[in-house]
Symmetry: C2
Subunit: 142 residues, 2 copies
């Protein structure tokens, strides 16, 4: 794990103690070549499979929330009974495949700036997210 030192730094700079558990979670989340989307359940499974260390469910939740507060990951709103998280923290949008229950990134460049003409007095926009739900295109129309 050549990256461990890097994560130790990252955690220290964030005021988080670099524990074995947090470093492991960093490796899973940030060693990946590409950013990805995950649920807590999936994250736990990945950690278990690479099982050189045991991490309790509570710690996974705590760490994910800590990383969210620090801006290392973000939550994606879906009408699910389960939260989806994203290691891509840049501003971007999503397809949601309703058949496979999978999120797919849409780069910001691939969506023209969303122009909202309406405003709410005393309020400002903090973020704008587009979710496009997709389904199989069975172009066989009888």
């Amino acid at each position: 794990m050549a990256y461990a030192d890097q994560y130790i730094d990252k955690l220290r700079k964030s005021g988080l103690r670099p524990t074995k558990q947090r470093i492991k979670i960093c490796e899973v989340l940030f060693d990946a070549e590409k950013t990805f989307h995950f649920t807590i359940k999936e994250l736990v499974k990945i950690i278990e499979n690479q099982a050189n260390i045991k991490v309790s469910l509570a710690t996974v939740y705590n760490t994910v929330h800590a990383f969210m507060r620090k801006g290392y990951i973000k939550e994606i709103p879906l009408n699910a009974s389960q939260s989806y998280y994203d290691t891509n923290v840049t501003h971007h949008h999503h397809f949601f495949d309703e058949e496979e229950n999978k999120l797919i990134d849409i780069h910001q460049d691939d969506v023209d700036e969303v122009n909202i003409k309406r405003t709410i007095p005393g309020k400002k926009i903090r973020s704008v997210e587009v979710i496009a739900k997709i389904v199989s295109d069975n172009q066989s129309q009888k």
Copy 2:
């Protein structure tokens, strides 16, 4: 209840038996002058307050799901420990006030058509929704 007959029709036409409970829920949802957003908890509270009839929680869930299947209401995707529903079933977008946890409609006309340049092979877009998160605009920058 001049509207009751209308709801009895609506339910019958949908293949749903017009029970006292379903008619009551129709009144709460569709007698309102304006469309609105609600959680199950809020809906239960409204029904309880107008308490000429008792409706169990299971029935509220069942009926809300039945009405969704029929397209009379729709679910709005938000950070999901709780589902938000909408009696406005036209295509439209939302502000989400993060401080008050309230949804506000944005009419379709108030958002330029969202142009997504990317496509997924074999898939087609079924819906596109924009959620703009808003917060208080304290325009006091030190």
